[in-house]
Amino acid sequence: MATISLRSAGGGETVEVRLERTAGSLGQAYHIVIADRRVEVAVESLADGAGRLWIRGRQVPFYLSTDGRRIAVWLRGQTYELEVSRGAALRAAGGLHGVMQRALTAPMPGTILQIHVRAGEAFQAHQALVVMESMKMEMTLSAPHAGRVSEVSCRVGQLVEMGATLARFEEPEDGITAE
């Protein structure tokens, strides 16, 4: 018996999946409990990363890959990204996010075209901070809330990865609140 805590990569509710090996006629068979649902499943790996679940007579083809952190599962044209949840402490830390951002990050890989702010400068909510380009598409990155720039961490012409920090914001002062 094993219990695995899973959630959507990047957040969301944690779901506990209980696995118990059973004797099955088709491949590796498991008794699975998810919340109040019980499922009898046989799993068959077909080729590298490809496989099939049997749930009674129903066949569910899947593809599977992982980068060591996230588990990506393909089902019927859709890819679901999951991660093994690290437990309650992590969930609590995650809960603090989202009110005030501490940095502007690149939403896509691309090239920085324009930077409209400098370190120390205050900005308003929705103000354009950085303009970037990816695959010939321009995207203006606007301020999520009012604040002040503590550091600009990119330069015009730079090629950045998705998620790269472009600018850091100062700790919010009294009187500046998120919209």
Partner: protein, 496 residues
């Protein structure tokens, strides 16, 4: 007939053109940038030569390098595909001077129609309806454009004079946004086409985009091969195209077809082209522009008229007559194309990059896949993020749509975010199925609900098995595998 043809492009269109060339007994030549060295488009051709560079500007936009390669390898002709140099009159002219046939219209026609302003004036004079409220000058200063925009009335559309493919297009709601919009559109146009000129026109509310495929030869024959409805767009780029259009009745189709043929005749058009129209709710139609190239969505037409458009392009370029006459052309059944992009529909369709880990395209009767990628392909920031085109034929529109849904649910792409599930949801959407389309459809209807938190049990089961090392996967062991259960020994296994 040509003996050897160079295809001056990358991705799926190269493989598609190469197939026809090879079937005609013509040697197909690929060119490639450094990131594309191992791309399927190179493998699809008989010969391949390096363009020594990474960005589009260093490679696929370098007409001089491409013509040098064509001459040194002995190619008689160049097929430009779409995008890149396909609508570049200077390139077409340089091909002619180098003694290499450009497979497309003459440089004069490309230049004439590439100037969207002059083209509109020419067609309006010939009696083809044009977008109302049209104004503006090709090279106008921002102050002048502001004046014209005020006369036209907001919202206005800013478009690249040399444009196409949705690049350099901006909708501007009010005069305050105009200067910034024009600046951005100019930069995009400059980057995409090497020509930063823009113009403005009235933004027609809730229009359909319906285009007609036209074809001319050097013997004075001009025909149309019916329409394609391309109203489903995001960021002003088409993602679903179909033929016939659910909006046209036989009478309207006849009138629009006539207008398209008139436009092609007036322009002196040869080879394949597309006359684009906006159709409003009352069924009035307005000329938009002519694309002087083979379109991305040409397979939709091929699937209903049963002619190979690339073959016709090659024949016409070689001086032969069109292989079809207007009277013999029929629209047979229905075809629909879904463009598969590496992008994230839940985040404003931002392009996604990465390595394709798993790739498996669906197959079966009535299913065609024109693909530019394989398992292991890199999707880079250098080029357009279109991965493949899925084209479905059916006896009726519903049959084609249902076939598309079936195929999308079996299209495996992992490693880059993609729009496969989004397209499936769109095809299942009631308004889409009833054919009530317009170019703002995706802004008006929320097709893709946020699926976060709605993970099916099957995905949880597979992920749990993977985390326990009980299902074979590609890549590294998932986090959490140190926590193996009592049947650890059974851990890694394959088929049984």
């Amino acid at each position: 007939m040509f003996r050897k043809v160079l295809i001056a492009n990358r991705g799926e269109i190269v493989a598609r053109v190469a197939q026809t060339l090879q079937q005609m007994g013509i040697v197909a030549v690929a060119v490639y940038s450094e990131p594309d060295r191992r791309s399927p488009h190179v493998a699809a051709c008989d010969e391949a030569y390096s363009l020594d560079g990474r960005t589009s500007a260093e490679t696929y936009l370098r007409g001089d390098k491409i013509i040098d390669i064509a001459r040194s390898c002995g190619a008689d002709a160049i097929h430009p595909g779409y995008g890149f140099l396909s609508e570049n009159a200077e390139f077409a002219e340089a091909c002619g001077k180098a003694g290499v046939k450009f497979i497309g219209p003459s440089p004069k026609v490309i230049r004439g129609l590439g100037d969207k302003v002059a083209a509109k004036e020419m067609f309006a004079a010939a009696g083809v309806p044009v977008v109302p409220g049209w104004s503006g000058k090709a090279d106008a200063k921002i102050e002048d454009i502001k004046k014209h925009a005020a006369t036209i009335g907001f919202p206005v559309l800013i478009k690249a004079t040399a444009g196409g493919g949705g690049k350099g297009i901006r909708v501007v709601e009010n005069v305050d946004q105009l200067a910034a919009g024009i600046e951005a559109a100019r930069r995009e146009a400059e980057a995409a086409f090497g020509d930063g000129r823009v113009f403005i026109e009235r933004y027609v509310e809730r229009p359909r985009h319906v285009e007609f495929q036209v074809f001319g030869d050097e013997h004075g024959n001009v025909v149309h091969l019916f329409e394609r409805e391309c109203s489903i767009q995001r960021r002003h780029q088409k993602i679903i195209e179909e033929s016939p259009s659910p909006a046209l009745n036989p009478a309207l189709r006849e009138r629009m077809g006539q207008a398209a043929v008139t436009a092609a005749r007036v322009a002196g058009y040869t080879n394949a082209g597309t006359v684009e129209f906006l159709v409003d709710a009352s069924g009035d139609f307005y000329f938009l522009e002519v694309n002087t190239r083979l379109q991305v969505e040409h397979p939709v037409t091929e699937m209903v008229v049963h002619h190979d458009l690339v073959r016709a392009q090659v024949l016409v370029a070689a001086g032969q007559r069109l292989p079809f006459e207007q009277e013999s052309l029929r629209q047979d059944g229905h075809a629909i194309e879904c463009r598969i992009y590496a992008e994230d529909p839940s985040r404003q369709f931002v392009p996604s990059t990465g390595t394709i880990e798993h790739y498996a395209a669906p197959a079966g009767p009535g299913i065609r896949v024109d693909s530019g990628v394989l398992e292991g392909s890199e999707v880079s920031v250098y080029y357009d993020p279109m991965l493949a085109k899925l084209i479905l034929a059916g006896r009726t529109r519903m049959e084609a749509i249902d076939r598309a849904i079936w195929a999308l649910e079996r299209f495996v792409i992992m490693g880059v975010k993609n729009n496969v599930a989004f397209l499936r949801d769109l095809l299942m959407h009631d308004r889409f199925r009833s054919g009530e389309l317009h170019t703002g459809y995706l802004e008006e209807h929320r097709v893709c609900d946020d699926r976060d938190g709605q993970i099916p049990d099957e995905a949880l089961i597979v992920a749990a098995l993977a985390a326990q090392g009980l299902a074979h996967h590609s890549g590294e062991p998932a986090a959490g595998t140190h926590d193996l259960g009592p049947w650890e020994a059974a851990g890694r296994w394959r088929a049984f």
